[in-house]
């Protein structure tokens, strides 16, 4: 897994690449929490390079979503690969997250 954070005018864009699984989900959680603690409450998670996620990764997504809702922030996910979208559909996550086709759509949405 590789996590990259970049900040634009309105949003913090977090790019997650590779696999998010039981062995590294806590690292993703830590990176995301650091963004929030640094004042970034409008976050776009770019999943274009994310090719595997297990329940421990889904857990992190939900934790961040709950946290940002409490802070009246925004959490938008974009560019989900078909396999990841399928897991989102099965879990009911597609209806509780804001999903966008790409970062541009997520910024303008």
């Amino acid at each position: 897994m590789n996590v990259q954070v970049s900040t634009s005018a309105d949003y913090t864009v977090v790019c997650v690449d590779g696999r998010v699984d039981t062995t590294n989900a806590s690292e993703l959680e830590k990176s995301m929490l650091e963004v929030i603690e640094g004042g970034g409450t409008k976050i776009i998670l770019d999943c274009s390079g994310l090719n595997y996620i297990s329940s421990s990764g889904l857990r992190v997504f939900l934790v961040i979503q709950k946290k940002l809702m409490l802070l009246k922030g925004q959490f938008r996910l974009c560019s989900l690969q078909p396999g990841i979208k399928e897991i989102f559909d099965i879990s009911g996550f597609s209806s509780i997250f804001s999903l966008f086709a790409d970062t541009e759509a997520a910024m303008n949405g």
């Binding site: 696999r19 699984d21 039981t22 062995t23 090719n51 595997y52 297990s54 329940s55 421990s56 889904l58 857990r59 939900l62 934790v63 979503q65 709950k66 809702m69 078909p82 396999g83 897991i87 099965i90 879990s91 009911g92 209806s95 509780i96």
Partner: protein
């Protein structure tokens, strides 16, 4: 937990041997990660080394994966499915692992035999 990486590598090889597509291999990887991490995280109340046996059997298009462990008795088939229609606020964090296994595989069977848990997961792998 680091052993999970070996499982991923083994599945890549198995996928190639059986002619499975990448999405199928990733689904199997997910199923095995969920099943194994449950056993590793919750199955044991000691710090001893334990062995988890994983067998793969392909008959026609039917793939059967069995996991055998000597942890505490635990029947995942009895676990209630999460309510996937809840809102973000109501949605509890966690509890998705077994549900994903059940949704991805065609059949999930459990048996407790000679102090061991037997979890048998089957799926038709026809593309």
């Amino acid at each position: 937990m680091s052993e999970l990486e070996r499982v991923a590598a083994f599945l890549d090889e198995l996928g190639e041997e059986l002619g499975l597509g990448i999405p199928q291999v990733l689904s199997l990887n997910l199923v095995l990660e969920e099943a194994l991490s449950n056993i590793i995280l919750y199955g044991y109340d000691d710090k001893n080394q334990h062995r988890i046996e994983i067998n793969f059997k392909m008959e026609g298009d039917q793939l059967a994966i069995s996991l055998i462990d000597d942890g505490q008795p635990y029947d995942p088939t009895l676990r209630a499915d999460p309510d996937t229609t809840l809102s973000v606020e109501e949605r509890p964090v966690g509890g998705l692992g077994i549900f994903l296994i059940k949704k991805i595989m065609d059949k999930v069977e459990y048996e407790r035999k000679s102090n061991k848990n037997y979890l048998i997961l089957t799926k038709n792998m026809k593309p």
